[in-house]
Structures are given as structure tokens and as C-alpha cells.
Symmetry: C2
Subunit: 338 residues, 2 copies
Amino acid sequence: MLPLMPVTMMDIAKDLKVSVVTVSKVLRNQGRISDATRKRVLSHAKKLNYQMNWVARSLVTRRTYTIGLLLPEFAHPFFAEIARAVANSVRPHGYHVVIASFEEDPDLEASEVDSLLARQVDGLIIASAQASRHVEMFKRVAARKIPYVLIDRPISGLRACFVGADNRAIGRMATAHLIARGCRCIAHLRGPQVGIAAERLEGYRGALRNAGLRYDSRYVVDAGHTDATGYEGMRKLLHLKPLPDGVFCYNDPVAISAMRAIREAGLQLPRDIAVVGAGNVHYNDALSVPLTSVDQGTCKIGTLAAELLLARVSSDRGLRPKRILIPPKLVERESTRR
Amino acid sequence: MLPLMPVTMMDIAKDLKVSVVTVSKVLRNQGRISDATRKRVLSHAKKLNYQMNWVARSLVTRRTYTIGLLLPEFAHPFFAEIARAVANSVRPHGYHVVIASFEEDPDLEASEVDSLLARQVDGLIIASAQASRHVEMFKRVAARKIPYVLIDRPISGLRACFVGADNRAIGRMATAHLIARGCRCIAHLRGPQVGIAAERLEGYRGALRNAGLRYDSRYVVDAGHTDATGYEGMRKLLHLKPLPDGVFCYNDPVAISAMRAIREAGLQLPRDIAVVGAGNVHYNDALSVPLTSVDQGTCKIGTLAAELLLARVSSDRGLRPKRILIPPKLVERESTRR
DNA sequence: TCTTCAAGGGTTAACGATTAATCAAATGCA
DNA sequence: TGCATTTGATTAATCGTTAACCCTTGAAGA
């Protein structure tokens, strides 16, 4: 017969005619308790199927063993992967993850941060939309002494922990790879974001410069970040006079639709045009022409962010902000093999 | 100057020389409070940047406004989409979501359920691995009067709420569509799971029967659920004497790798063999031959599960279990257009 | 014999809110 | 004026655990 109300320490204590504190001590393995009572308590707790009430414990210890994970959206494979990595990294330490997404809405982001703080999370991991007023918001978080780690999108003007991809390196690596495969006229389908896309573009320009190739702005086209706009972007590139022989695409979805545009134009892939994406999504292998892509170490971002955060959570003295850039890794497939 | 310790109702009360209860009442908009004090409290709360301590409130109200979402893994786009739908559905009601994944490990699943209960979640949404001992586990949950909703994978022998795809209908619809497109020898790349895959197979057989076509077990091959095994499965089918002219694939990743195998065999798609997948993942449009797929209404599963759960959470009388099957929808693309 | 100390517990008071019961002052009505 | 009623706020109890201290008892050492 299981009771309707959850079993409390009080119930165990009453049955065993000991004090609640004794039960608490046994369950925490703390304080001096004889082996006899320890065993009695333990066995009776198991018998009653006792489950700690974490709400009550948290109230007095001021630790919820909960961290907040705030993402722009988590249907996106990139963020889903991060969520997974974070959850798996903190679980062994007894932490749980409260997720929240703000659907790219900065106001919602701010309000969710407050909600998570109200729920007394021990720490926060945030992939923030970079609105200027957010600096204030983060200062509020810091004032409450709640450690937080930014991921993916850094925020300028904020001395905070950050873990993200090395976007310059990604651009450099992708472009250098095309050059190494013999491309001499390399286009770039860039993304819309200010920060990340700009850095990848910089990497692209850097690689061109290093190879002594000329940068021509006509070969850089904004591709949005949806499949449709990537397709359109590629079609624009196909109108250019010296046809590009290589394209570095801001991300994999764009690269995939770019490849479609290339094929439809009657061109051979990768012979006529080689394509590199970024993100290394898991279905790249299954494409008709498997896509070479720069892996941005998504899983590592989640794992490192979690570890960084837990370190701050358990240390009571404020460690100084740490910035980690994950070095990218090129995964070569058919789309550049020539 | 923001204080280091979080502001409590006590702080507000002291400053204003009123009782904590008065503050509490104002903040909850409950009880009789004069307009004058109400305004004083409200403005001072805002000035001190007061944030409700939900842990303390939860302890006394026995409501955490938190639900647990337990998934096999959430990097998978299907589950990621569900997580998103759930979180977005419960947010307007003031709920947050604690996610946990058990990485397809039944033991971990059971222990996570207990952890979530210990954290006093108000309800649970679970896509369970169907181990037999889990029936006991769910009885424990029910004994604690915590409402829960199963999704995606029903558990036999359990009178519980369930929301999932109508797998029989999926199989029937996909197969019927191939028949309507003129296929007469239809193969099936089936999945490994007992429940879901078996139902889709049943639907497949049902559609054949309805059309007066013969069922031949040689044309049903297990495809695992990874891309690699799907590829192998299709190659087996290509060895059969009357070559199949249509394939219903258990899910989209399998379908994609099957298409690759077909192309590599020098066959035309969809002229020689038409392919239908299931799941309707978002990149289907970007493939070289866009994939016809049966949409299983993933988003709806999450939304309905959330609504169902919240209804049980707020009603104190035990509503009786409800089972919802989402009717599938066929999304036709090139892979069957002939 | 007296002190000291450790072992094995128990007591009391938080933690930050809510709920129920209570109370004083102001108001209504005859 | 006098009594009942409403209004507005207070006090006490509680939620389930933990932190900090205090109290026995028995044995060892002086």
C-alpha cells in the first residue's frame, strides 16, 4: 500500500522513534550516527519508498542543483545537440536542466532569464540574441551572483564566460581547403547575422589573402539562413562572368540548396564547382553528393559550457571569465573531392 | 546598488512597515488590500527589483509549475521538435520544463523518473522505452498522484494518457499512395522497434490487401534506424527477382539512404522505383530528388501532450485516461511523382 | 574521584513564502 | 448612541529539510 501523500522524513522518524534530524543525517551520510540506527533508517526509508523533497532541501541549502538553459529555439539541430550535451554533462553531478527557448524574441529572452532566476537556478547557459539592452540584464544576473556562460553568440561589452565556435577559423579553413583542392575563384554565400557571419566572412577573406587571391565583393552574396534563400543566392552567383569554381557556404542547409542550384544549371559537382558547408549536420553523408563541411564541435560546445558553469557554481569565489573557442575540424566528402 | 542577497518579501515589508503577508497578498492580487498600500508595495517591489522565490512558494503551495519531459534522446529532430512544442505550449501557463534524456537506457529512464518526482514536478511527459518493469514504475508515479502523459511509444498494460502518431494509418497511407502512383510491387524497409515499426508494417499489409495485392515477406527488410543499415537494406531489395517498383521506408533517413542505393544501382528515381518516407524532416525539400513523406504531426504531438497534461495537473479529480492518435498527412514530392 | 572527551543523539531555529485565524478600526443601520 | 458588519492588516502555523548547538552517557586518563 503506497500512501497518497509523499513520504517525508517525519514519517520515517515517527515509525522509528528517532528525530527527523537523525534521519536527515543518515540520508546525507553526515554527522555521527551509530551503525545500528543508520541501518534501521536506511532500510525503513527503502521500505516506505522515501524520495527526498528537493524543494524543501533547496530552500534551506540555497542550492537547487538545477541549471537553466536558454536557447533561441531548440528544434534547430545545432541547439538540440547542445542541449543534449549539456544535459548529459551535468547529470553525473546531480544537476537537472530547465530548458527555455525564446524563439528569437529578445523581450521573451529577458523575461525568461528573470523567470529562471526566480526559480533559483544555480547557473545559466545562454545563447543570447545580442540586443544592446541585454548587457543590463546580464549585470542583474551577475549582481545576484548567479554564474552564467554564454554560448555560440558572444556579447560585446560584457566580461563573461563564453564558449563557441571559432568562426574566423571556420571561414579560413573552409576557404583554404577549396584553394588546396585547386579552386581559384571562390565565392561565399554568407549568413545574415552580424557577429558570426561577419567572422566567417573575415576568415574567408583572410584565406584568400594568404593564398594571394583577390577578394571581389561580387562573389559574396547574402544567403539568409533558410534553404530557399540559399538557392536564390547560388543562382545569383551562377550569373557572374568568370564562374566561381568553389563556394564556401555559411552553413549546411544553404550548401545543400546551393548544390541543387548548381546541378539544375547543368554543372558537374564537384568538377565544375566544389562546395563546402559548415556545421557538419548528420545527414550530410546521405546526400546524393555527400557534402564536405567544417565541423564546429557542437557537442564540445555544450560539454565545455556545462563544465565551465559547474566549476563556477561550486566554487564560491568568483573565478574570472574564461573564453573558449572550439577549433573547427574539416570533414571532407565528395563535394570537394577532385 | 543591487544587494548581494536576493530581495525577499521580508525586505519589502520591513521598509514599508507592513507585514510580510500584506506584501504577499499584494503580489498575488489576493485578499483585501487598500489601494494606497497596494501601490506602495508594488512600487517598492519594483524599485528593489524583487523576484519571487519559487522554491519557497512551491514548498507551501505544493505546486512547482514545472513539468518533466523525459525523452530517449533529444538530438533526434523528432524529439527536438516535440520538446520545442511542449515548452512553447506550457510557457503561457507559467510552467517551465525540466528535460532529461535517458539515451535509450531503461535503467537510466527509471532513475530519471524518480529524480524528477523528487524535484516535485507537477506532471510528466515521457517517451518511454517499453521495458516490462516500467509498468511498476508508472504505477509508482500514479500512486503519488502525479499526472503523466506517454508520447510516441505506448506501453501495453497501462491505462494511461497517450499521444502519438497513428502508425497504422501512416503505413496504410504511404503504401496506398504508392499504389495510386501505379506501383504494383511494393517493398517495405521496416524499423527495428517492436511497437511502432510493427504497426507501420501492419498498415502496409492492410493497404496491399485493400488493393488486392499479394503480401510477400521477402519484400520486407529490416533497415535498422541508422542511415548505413538503410542503405544495406535497399541493396538487398535490389537483388530480388521482380524488382520492386515502390518502397515504403520506415523513416526519412532510411529513405534517403535507400534513394542513394537506388541511384548507385543505375536506376531512375522515381521512374523505376518510387520512394516514400515517414516523418517529413525539414530537409526533405533540399534533396536532389525531394522525398515524398508522411508527416506524423510531430509538433501536434507535443502540443496536445502538453495540453492534456496541464488539464490533469489543474483538475484535482482524476480525469480518465485519454488516447490521442494524430492522423498523418501525406506530403508529395518528386520521389513519387510519375 | 574528578575531569575530559568522544560518540550518538536530540533541540531549536531558520529558509521564504502561503493559509487560516484573528483583530482593530471604520462604517452601516436602526 | 449602540451593535453588527465590513475593511484592512496582523499574528500564528505550516511546508519538509538542514545548520548550529546542546545534552547525555560511558570510558579513558590523571
